[in-house]
Structure formats: C-alpha cells, structure tokens
Symmetry: C2
Subunit: 279 residues, 2 copies
Amino acid sequence: MALENITQNKVFGGWHKQYLHDSEVLNCRMQFAIYLPPQAAPSAPVPVLYWLSGLTCTDQNFMQKSGAFRMAAKLGLAIVAMDTSPRGEDVADDDGYDLGQGAGFYLNATEFPWSRHYQMYDYVTQELPNLIQQHFPVSSVRSISGHSMGGHGALTIGLKNPTLYRSISAFSPITHPTQCPWGQKAFAAYLGSDRTTWLQYDTCELIKRVDKHVPVLVDQGESDDFLEEQLKPDSLVAVSAPEKGELNVRLQPGYDHSYFFIASFIDEHLQFHAKHMTE
Amino acid sequence: MALENITQNKVFGGWHKQYLHDSEVLNCRMQFAIYLPPQAAPSAPVPVLYWLSGLTCTDQNFMQKSGAFRMAAKLGLAIVAMDTSPRGEDVADDDGYDLGQGAGFYLNATEFPWSRHYQMYDYVTQELPNLIQQHFPVSSVRSISGHSMGGHGALTIGLKNPTLYRSISAFSPITHPTQCPWGQKAFAAYLGSDRTTWLQYDTCELIKRVDKHVPVLVDQGESDDFLEEQLKPDSLVAVSAPEKGELNVRLQPGYDHSYFFIASFIDEHLQFHAKHMTE
C-alpha cells in the first residue's frame, strides 16, 4: 500500500514524519505520524509504541505536546500516533465533539450510518501495524498507550490482544464506558441498543473476564475535571486482581486532564514499556 | 497592577499559569504565561528566563511545544512567555503574517499608526518584569531567550541591557534584520525610512558597537527553510569577537525551523542560562 509523506522534522537525532494513505478498513484517506529514534535502521529494527489520542485529537497532539521524543530517542523506541477516527466529507459525523469524526472510540461500529467507516479497532490492531512494519525499520514488538478516550482504546485493545502487545499504559482513561455519559452516547450510536454488545469494549468488564493480562500502568490526575463522571479510576481499581497481572493505577495529586499532565509522566510510561518490550 | 488568572496546570511538580492584564505601555489588554518550578516560594525566589516567540506566535507556543518544564523544574528556573505583539480590535494590523499583530519585532515603533501600541521593547524590558517581580516568587536575576523573530528580540534586548540579563540565547534568530526581507518590511513600517534608526535593533550592528556583552548561545538548524534569506547566521559569526564575550553559534545538521528543533536543544539552553544565573 502506498504512503504519501507530507512532513518530516529532525528531532532528538531521530525523525518525526507524517503520512497519508488510503485505508481499506476505514474506507477513507487517513493520516498518521511516526517518530523514528536515531537507532532505527533496517539492520536494527526497533520496537514500537502505539499511541491513541483522546476526543477531538489528531495524530499531532501527542507528537507536539507530550515531550516524549527525548526519552524515546534514549530508549530506542519508535512511536506511532494515529488519528482518532475516520475523516472526510463523506464520513458520517455528529454535531457533538464526543461522537463521529474525532471520536471513533477505537471500536468496530455495527450500526448505520457509522459502520461504513468507523472500524477503528481493526485499523489499530491490524491494518496500521501491518503498514508500519512494511514501510519502516521496526520490529514486531509492540506496546500500546493512550489518553482519555485513547486510554480506553489502549486498555481494551491491549487486554483483548495479549499476544500482540507487551504492555499497556494509559493517562486519564475512560475505564468504564458502559457506565459514563461519553461511553453510553458513543456505544449506543456505534453499537446499538443491545448493551451486551457493549461489554467487549469496556475495560472494567474485560478485566473481570480475562484470566491473565500483560502489565498495565495507569496515571490519573486527581484534579481532572472529568474524574468522577467520565473516567472512574475507582471502578478499575475495584476489579483489579493481582494474580491476573500487574495493574498499577496511580493517582497524581494536583494534575488535570491536559498534555501538561501527560508530559510530566510520559518518561515513566516510556521506561515501563521499554522494559517490557526488551525483556 | 491587577492580574487576571485564566488557566493553571500542574506540570513537573510546578505550575503553568496564564494571566491577562492591562498594559500601560502597550495601551491594550495583554496575555502572558509563567512556569513556576516546584522550588519557587516567597522565602526562596527563583531566577527567571524570559522567552520571546517568533512570528504569529502567542504565549502558548513555547509553553505547549518546547518540552522545557522538565529541565526548568530540575534547575529551579521560572520561565515567562509573552505574546508577540499588542493585540485587539483597535490595535493597528496588516494583512501579512510578518507585520502588525503577531509580529511586534520587540522594538518601540515611532511611526503612525504603529506607535500608539507597538512598544514591545519597553514592555519586555520594563513593564512585564516589574509585574512579574511584584506578583510571583522570583528574584531579580534574569536571562533572555527566543526563537526566530524572538531570537532577534532576545539578542538585541540582551546586548543593549547587559545589566538586566545574565545571559542570552536564541534559536534560529533573525541576526541581521536591516539586511533581510522580514526585517526591512517591519522596520520600514515601525521605524520609518531613516535607516540609521534601524541599527539600534540589528544584532549584527549592535555586536560591533558594544565593548563587552554577556554570554550568548545560538543554535541554528542547517535545514531551516529561512536560513539564507532571513536568518543569516554567517553574518553573526562574521562580527563576533571573542574578547567582547562568549558568542557560541552552533549549526545543527538536519534540523529545521520548528519547535521540534527547539525541543531537541532546549535543555542545553536552560543549563547554559542556569549556570550564568546562579554564578
């Protein structure tokens, strides 16, 4: 599949690059960004961290605001950041910021009019990684992380695919989408009224069902405006079971929902993933 | 003078905060941002780095994209980032991105219609630092840095005020504005047709005239699209004289004009300033 390179910037000795491509799964043109650390070479493929952003974001929020490249260059990790939904004039949308374009929720929609394009689960787990491995000097070793809606995406995708990802982390994730307004609105639209179909995309439900999971690190700011109504870290703590795997939920006093919070702890997340990707 | 706090975010244990205030010098409402490291306290005032941004920027470009807070927190430095010009409906403007609002060039305009508001030199050197010292736990120890048009600002202001600033640094600065299109357009508008008045705001001219200057660090990407026509680092190297003070101009292969470049070297700039501010 052809990739169109649209930008490239040297950063911390490596390269940030943006690409466009035709997505078969999403049935539209898509944009993503990759950071390749200085170590990446065809003779020395590097592991990849997939980053899933939150509501309204594109591939650029993380790349421009997280301050992640210094540590990624030090550890020799590639980072891929994708868009948060299919995009385009013929892609179904909604007036709300929390449904439609910019709000794909990293699931496969089954309902009209969403199902034609909104297949982000397959895009994240299959199409995009295949493309990345085909075109860049990266290994098959992957981990996954994200923020807010993207934290929900990282947790659900990582829990459902323990053979594809070595570790999972999340900042301020929507942990229990079947029980919060953002999740209920999106799941009703994308998945329909049968709530049993929703459970496959709910972290708190998934973690109850799995016997084992890869290591998980979650950071949540205690001054996050969305904490109690939307994010519900307590629900995640309540279903954790040490015998199933490491699940470290950290509450960080004073921090909010912004990229200033992510920047403050991204180094620790990258070190956590690097440890598990090089084991 | 009253400050109106509009945002605050905890980051790396310190605080990023934005404020609005009425500027007497600029004759309009102005916005700035400050980073206060965790060490800052009334009993332990910290030194301040003033950051001047480039064309079209606000107080937020540096704060969101530079990745500076990790090192600032480690070193115990406050950082102040201001807007790049006066702003508002009754403030003179131009259709170009390189003149008027967003393009103040850190000088005092003498010509109609600009002189009523465009007094950025006085704002940066007097009004804003006085306000900062009055309202925040900072010491009188200051250094100055900036990017592109803001690199020009940092260099000219620092060279003209060696008792106010301990050190100067710049990324991709406009070094010789009287000899490049950006500078010639802005200086003709703000300062008029008598080119002798322009020389007081031209780094290459100033550095020839001073006997001594505080230490200067400049980083310039070799793949910067504006290198030859607008920035002219060779002109700065040509007028440097080691006996006047440290002037380190570094060319960085592969780097461009973006914040990805700034992020890659900001730690070294902060360490350079911290060394001179704590001597």
